[in-house]
């Protein structure tokens, strides 16, 4: 005699596992949600503090209690380390020892080793990524203010390609300070290099405002400036020639997920990351890229090399001109 079928078991087995976000997406969401949760906690504590302070003031003993009330240090998470190796974090006093090793709090200092750089993702919305060259030393003064004490920092405030749905730079302010110099992005990718008291700024995309004392200039894509804090102080601007400064920047570019995404979107993201202008030899090639869905893990290669690898496996090719920073997508070899 046949056993009666368990319909509920059949249904659940038949439907299979519920879809789960990838580990990468899970981590990014956890990171962002946790930061917002902590922000909410701080806000509520601040309100409670103000209420208590008001009461205390009314009782005339506010001054006596003030130091006790404000001394509730709590780590404020400002960034998460990604693709990190061989580095040192100096935690802020009274601050972030409770944080996971990959999290950075306000006041923390970060030094990269002599041989390796690091890629960071910055809070709160995850759209800004920072890359630090080897031998770099920075300190988070606040959630939107980073002090460059030595070395070089690359800032990408949109963390993706235009049109990929990830451009939220306007909501993610960040100021880099280096001695007397101050660098503010206006939706961009730029590199700041500190050499003693001087700072070099190179704009790869978008626009940047640099300030030294009362002098303030706007720099556009392809422009650079040297901010000399010594002597009378001066900003000298110029145009960037293609050089090797971007090599370390590209080597530390965040890896781009490809699973389930179309080739065109991935190429745009990679081109943006690599500061490249993307062109197609024909409209048909662009359409073909748009209808090619990729599968597999993110490739551990710089943007230009990743593009080449993906195009090769998709039956397409590319010719690049490192001199003017553009790539042309062409039919693959027959």
């Amino acid at each position: 005699m046949n056993e009666p079928r368990d319909r509920i078991a059949d249904l659940i087995r038949g439907a299979g596992q519920r879809p789960e976000p990838s580990a990468e997406v899970y981590e990014r969401l956890r990171f962002a949600a946790r930061a917002q949760w902590q922000a909410g906690l701080r806000q509520r504590r601040r309100r409670r503090f103000l209420a208590i302070a008001a009461g205390v003031a009314l009782l005339g003993i506010g001054t006596a209690l003030f130091p006790l009330l404000v001394s509730t240090p709590e780590p404020v998470i400002v960034a998460r380390l990604t693709q990190a190796a061989d580095h040192q974090i100096v935690r802020a006093r009274g601050g972030a020892d409770a944080l996971d090793s990959e999290l950075i709090g306000v006041g923390d200092e970060l030094r990269t080793s002599e041989s390796q750089g690091i890629t960071l993702a910055q809070l709160p919305n995850g759209t800004t990524s920072l890359r630090l060259a080897a031998n770099t030393h920075i300190r988070w003064k606040s959630a939107d203010r980073v002090e460059l004490l030595a070395g070089a920092i690359y800032v990408d405030t949109s963390h993706g390609a235009p049109g990929s749905g990830l451009t939220q730079a306007v909501r993610d302010p960040l100021v880099i300070e280096a001695g007397e110099a101050r660098i503010e992005h206006i939706g961009t990718q730029f590199l700041a290099v500190r050499r003693g008291n001087d700072v070099e700024v190179h704009v790869r995309d978008g626009e940047v405002r640099v300030t030294l004392g009362t002098d303030s200039r706007r720099l556009a894509r392809g422009e650079s400036a040297t901010l000399r804090a010594t002597g009378a102080g001066a900003i000298q601007t110029g145009h960037d020639a293609a050089d090797s400064s971007w090599q370390w920047v590209d080597a530390l570019a965040p890896r781009v997920s490809i699973e389930g995404r179309d080739l065109l979107t991935v190429l745009r993201t990679l081109a943006y990351q690599g500061g490249l202008e993307l062109r197609f030899a024909t409209a048909d090639l662009e359409a073909a890229a748009g209808s090619t869905i990729l599968h597999g893990p993110a490739l551990n290669l710089p943007p230009r090399e990743t593009m080449r690898a993906l195009l090769g496996s998709s039956g397409l090719g590319m010719t690049d001109d490192p001199g003017n920073g553009s790539v042309l997508i062409v039919p693959g070899p027959k």
Binding site: R7, P21, L29, G40, R44, G260
Partner: protein, 200 residues
């Protein structure tokens, strides 16, 4: 038998700044929000991540505002609905019209009442494919019910192994599985208007 913390206890702990409570919340609810948003954005993982970030961010900033009048899950999914609407508005493009049975107010009310084991409607229109219905039904159960059913029927875990994961003794685990099956049957019925036994 160890009692699993209620949503109220978990939220209270989060408001008090308890890290473990945040982790439990995230582990339990983020995948549900993700699965809720994903099909409503045409399966775009990228857009789903963006919207989930907004949903969870808003929920985390306002977690103290959850009064417990609706379940935590319902509260979160309402935030998700609003964010999805905003998303399409921002994109300034017409979304293809996708209808989800669980968005129907009557179905939503039924799913909300599952924990009370009462108030089931008889027939509702069959509007979603079977796989999605099963996943949706699992997602709308208390998280440990859905997980326990998957562990038993998909992963093939024994009652003892499931009990170990939930830190429950075998008797309590058996009882939980029975309740989970009943809740699943109710959710499934609410979504499709048919019972599991009606399925071919």
């Amino acid at each position: 038998m160890n009692e699993l913390p209620t949503d109220r206890e978990m939220v209270n702990s989060m408001i008090a700044g308890n890290e473990a409570a945040f982790e439990s919340f995230f582990r339990e609810y983020m995948p549900r929000v993700f699965r809720f948003v994903l099909p409503r954005l045409g399966g775009s993982v990228q857009d789903t991540e963006e919207v989930c970030q907004e949903v969870l961010g808003r929920a985390m900033r306002n977690i103290a505002g959850w009064r417990g009048e609706a379940s935590l899950s319902t509260w979160l999914l309402q935030i998700a609905r609003n964010e999805i609407t905003d998303h399409w508005r921002r994109k300034a493009r017409r979304a293809s019209v996708e209808v989800f049975a669980e968005d129907d107010p009557l179905v939503a009310a039924t799913l909300e009442s599952i924990q009370d084991d009462s108030n089931r409607p008889d027939r509702l229109a069959d509007r979603a494919d079977l796989l999605n219905v099963v996943h949706t039904a699992l997602d709308r159960l208390p998280a440990h019910y859905g997980d326990a059913l998957e562990w038993k029927y998909i992963d093939g875990l024994s009652v003892a192994e499931i009990g170990q994961r939930l830190t429950l003794n075998p008797t309590a685990t058996q009882s939980l599985l029975a309740r989970a099956r009943t809740a699943f049957r109710d959710a499934f019925t609410a979504l499709t208007g048919s019972t599991a036994g009606d399925m071919p």
